[in-house]
Each structure stands twice: as C-alpha cells, then as structure tokens.
Amino acid sequence: MSIEHRDDTGARFGMWLFLYTEVILFSGLFILYAVALSKFPQDYAVASHKLNVWFGGANTLVLLTSSLTIALAVSAIQMGRKKQCLTLCWVTIGLAIVFLINKFFEWSAEISHGIYPGSEQLAAMGPGVTSFFNLYYFTAGLHGLHVLIGASLIAVVAVMTAQDKVTPERYTLLENSALYWHLFDLVWIFLFPLYYLIL
Amino acid sequence: MNPLTNPTAQAVDNVLIYIFGFSLILLLGITAVTVYFVIRYRRSKCPEPTSQAHGHLGLEILWTVLPTLIVLTMFWYGWSNYLGLRQVPDNALEIKATARMWSWQFQYPDGRRESKLYVPVGTPIKVIMTSVDVLHSFFAPAFRVKRDTVPGMETYVWFTATEPGSYDIFCAEYCGTGHADMITTIEALNAEDYQQWSQPVVSAEPRGLTVLNEQGCTGCHSLDGSEGIAPSLFQLAGAERALVRGDRGEIIAIDSDYLHRAIRQPEIELVEGYDPMMPPYDEQTISEDDLQAVINYLMGTATAEPKPDARQLLEDNGCLGCHSTDGSLIVGPTFKGIGQRGVTLERDGKTVEIQVDADYLRRALLKPNEEIVQGFAPMMPAADYLSTAEIEALVEYLLTQ
C-alpha cells in the first residue's frame, strides 16, 4: 500500500471484537454444561470429586501469574524497558508450558483410570458422570489448544520485540497478544470452579 | 383432501385462515399502492420529484403501532389455539408409537402391536411417541398435528377422528434414505368395525409373518423379491449372499444363525451394495421366541422341536447371580461381549491368552475350575447336569453377547 495507514485504537478494537467471538465459542460449551448440570446435579457433584483440585488449583495460580507477567510486559514496553519486557514475555511462555505439562500429567492420570470420552468404564458410570467428563475434556481441551496458540503468539511477538519491530512507540501487536492471553485466563477463571469445585 | 371436521384441524385452520386473510389484504394493498405510484409518478410524466420530504414522524408511528397490534392478535390467536392442541381430553385412548428408520410401530394398551394406527371414530387418541434411532416426526395432515419423535424422550400428539376413513401419516423430520417412504395410515373405524378389529384374532397367518409386519420390517424389505432400500426377504433359505464384514467380503449361504445375527446385530455384516442403516432389534423389541418364529418363517422350516431358551436357562440356573449381562462386575466375568473378547487364563499354573470361542465356552461350562480367568477365584460350579442341547444353546447364546 502506498499510503501507510495506522490506527492503533482500531487495531485494539478489532482484537476485542475477535475476543467476543472466542467468548461466544466457549459459551456453546458452557450452555451444554449448564443444561446438563441442571439435569444431573448429583452426578455432577460426584464426578467433580474425581477431578484433582490440586492440579486445577495449581494451574489457576500459574495462569493468574502468567496474566500478571504479560500485563507487566506491556507496561514495560510502554516505559521503554525492552529488556524487562522480553524477560516478562519469556516468563509468560514458561508459565504456559508449566500449565500444559501440568495438564498432561492430570490427563494421563485420568486416562489411566479409564476416564476418557468413549471409554467403557466411563459409560458404566451413568449418563450424568459421562456427560460431565465429556464436557470437561472438550472444554479443557479447547482451552489448552488456545493456550498453545496464545503462547506461540507471544513467542513471535517477543522475537519481534528483540528485533525492535515492536517498540515503545509501536507496541499494539504485543498489547493485542496480551489481550488474547488474558482472555484464556478469563475462561479458566470460570472453568476452574465449574469443573473442579462443585460440591 | 379429507373432510376436516375434527377438532385439531379446525383449531389450526382457523388460525391459518385468519393469518392468510390478513396477509392477502396487506399484500394486495402494498402491491396496488406500489403499482399506482410507479405509474402515476413515472419519469416521463414527472421529470422532477414534487416532494423532498425526508419523513413524517406521525406516519412512522402509525405504521409501527398498527402492524404491532395486528401481529399481536395473530400471536395470541395462534398461541391459544396451540394450547388446544396440547391439552389432551381426559378420556383419551393412549397408544404408544415407536419410530425407527423407516417404519412406525403402534402399541395398544393390551400389548397388541400394529404398523398402522387403527382408531375408533369419535374417541380422542393420544399418541405417545419415541424414537429408537434418529429424529422422526409424526405428521398427520388431515388432523393438522405434527410432533418430532426424539430418542430418549417422550413426546405426544392427540387428535380425534370424526369420520371413518384412511388418513396419511408422514414422517416430517428428515431421517435418511427412506424418509419419503416412512408413510403409514391412520385407519379410523366406526365403533362396530373397531370392536371387531380389537377382538383377539386367531390368526391363520404364521407368527413369523405377523412379527415381520408388526415390526415394520416389510417397510424396507419386500417379501416378493422386488428391490427396495434393503435386501428382499424372498426365498432366503440357502440362497447365497455376498456379505461385507469390516473390510472383508465373503459369500455365504443363508442359514438361521446368519439371520439371527442379521436381526440382532445388523451392522456387523452387510449385504454387499447396501448401507448400514438397519437398526438392531434387541430382546425388548423382538423376544427370542418371536425372533425364532421369524427365522423359521423366513427359512421355511416348521418348529418341530423348540430350541432351549438360553436366556431362560441362564436365569433358571442362577448364572446371572454372578455374571452380569450389562458389563458390570459381580463375582464372575461379565457375559457382555464375552463372545468377542480375548481373555487371559491361568491353566496348570501357566498364563495363556486365548480368544473366546465355542470350545472354550463348553470347557468353561463343564469344567469351570480347570481354567480360571486371571483375577477371579476358582469357585464356579460345573454345569454338567445340563443336556447337550442346552449346553449348545448356551454356547451359541453367549457367543453372540
């Protein structure tokens, strides 16, 4: 394009619009959850106890902290502290990896107990418990996928920051990646009590 | 179309006439005004517009309020008449309907099953419906009633036939290849005919044929050799068929075993060229006796000596106290899937893995404690007091579990 047009607010607004679409995407799964919960409240409580609160709690901490570090990274670049910003980005990615590893151990434990979609052992536990675990796997799976995408996005932006393509004057890219990252913190804030903490 | 004096049709028709009447007036009005304007203000006659009005608040309010009032009457009339379609009169005769690809089955309070819906004239009928596979929809245009049948759920419609006659029932929810052929009828009979129909009939018809008709099998499978969406049942005994099982194809001669499998578990072996769309018929749907009758009818053999009923044997001999049939663990291994699974056995202090077959089952029945499935205790009593025929019946039965 011959005339470079720059509109940072527009870019942020576009990102927010995109985040809305992500929220609606997840809301489909939350609708299924809500309906099933109202149908099988007892079974859901039983199934929820089979999940490990410690895994879930640890992951909550990890995600909240990563949200903090990426928010700090944005402030850092605004104030021109490139080095701090880079460190904070890499810490965020590190936390994302911790989150995924944690998830991996949690899931392998459950799968080894025969709890996974389509398993016979799960089917034997009745429709309520089955529906809980089916939804749990798909919601957490979709969430995990997005965490993976978000971490990759931050990695790309961090490299660009190192190459001075993201600068204190021009940091919308980092800000938008941070917005994306916060969203999956948000989703987890709801996911955690709904799946791990029902009495 | 049939004469429509029945209550449900009248409730719906009144709403239809009301809405279509208003719609016609509005449509004619809109069209007439448009055509008049287009002719009256054509450019050759009016080279420049004679008004530059940007709008008129009063008019906007007028044509917001007026349509609102009209549509609200439509809504209310439509809703109140709909309630009439949902409130079933107290004295209604309840008939259960089961929809499956692609047939209907109606079950009367006395247990009688039919593929057509026979009803007495003048009595409200409540049809309580469900589906065993996918969504279908019970649609009787003459009564203006329609409701989907949903697997795992019960839905209902009600209607009263006011005149004797035969009225179509369509499936209105798309359900696959045979959707358009999933047609049956409501046979409205006057009191006398209905009385006669509802007498238990001593049928000269073979039991197997009755079952085939009751279950709606003939909706897809012809009895006269004509081709349809499913293989014909004409002259089956000994006929050769190309089957596809998994990825493998083979040619077999049809026998009773094959027919048994083909009805209980139709998805496992397919006749070449046909899609896997036949629903399995379990014992709740067709009892073992009825199934045998169907097979005998199709194979053209008489029922000389009744085969021992394996399920009954399992119950009578207490087998089910330890072995479940639904996959749950009681004391011994479950019967569910026993015919298809591999087991790890301890035999003479050694561990071996085998695939369950007829031989193994015979051994396990007659000398149960010589080979023990890993993880279970050697405590089963031998069933050597059963006759050979009974053992064979059990083996055959278990293999198909």
Binding site: D8, Y20, V35, A71, L197 | -
Partner: protein, 97 residues
C-alpha cells in the same frame, strides 16, 4: 494520533490486582468446601465474575479505553445472557406445562 496510546500502568497496580485475584481464588476454594446447596454454583460464579472484571478492567486496560469498547463488551454480555437464558426457557419447562 494522540488518543491511540494510553499511559503505562505502574507495576504496583498490577501486582496488587494479582494479589487480589489470588485471595479471591482462595475464597472460592474455601467456600466450595461449605455445603450451601444450589447456592454453591452461584457463589462460585459470583466470585469468578469479580475476578474476571478485575482482569478485564485492569490487566486488559478496559478502564483506559473509550466508551465504544465498554459498550461493545456490554452488547456481547447481553447477547450471551440471552443465548444462555433463553435456552433455559426450554430446558427448565420441559414436561411442565
């Protein structure tokens, strides 16, 4: 354009918000150990809403954005409520009337 950037948020604010989030998380876990019946889910959702507004307004800078952004969020939440709420018009009343 001047309206395109906003002043950097000091580190201190973010850290305080983070601490608040941790405390709220601890509260959710603690409350979930007390049997409140059906109320449990609503308390959990309430705390989660507070947590998410903290994230949205501070971490995501919504506080500093123009009215358009806030209005957009409101529209989205309204539509979301409609989608979930109106689905329950069916689910809750099945077989009731």
């Amino acid at each position: 354009m001047t309206d395109d950037t906003h002043a950097p948020v000091p580190y201190r604010t973010f850290i305080l918000i983070w601490l608040a989030l941790l405390i709220l998380t601890a509260i959710t876990v603690a409350v979930s150990r007390v049997d409140l019946g059906a109320l449990n889910v609503w308390v959990a959702l309430g705390v989660a809403s507070i947590k998410s507004s903290l994230v949205i307004f501070f971490f995501m800078h919504l506080r500093q954005e123009s009215r358009l952004f806030k209005l957009g969020l409101l529209v989205m939440l309204m539509i979301l409520a409609v989608f979930i709420g109106m689905t329950f018009l069916d689910v809750l009343y099945r077989g009731a009337m």
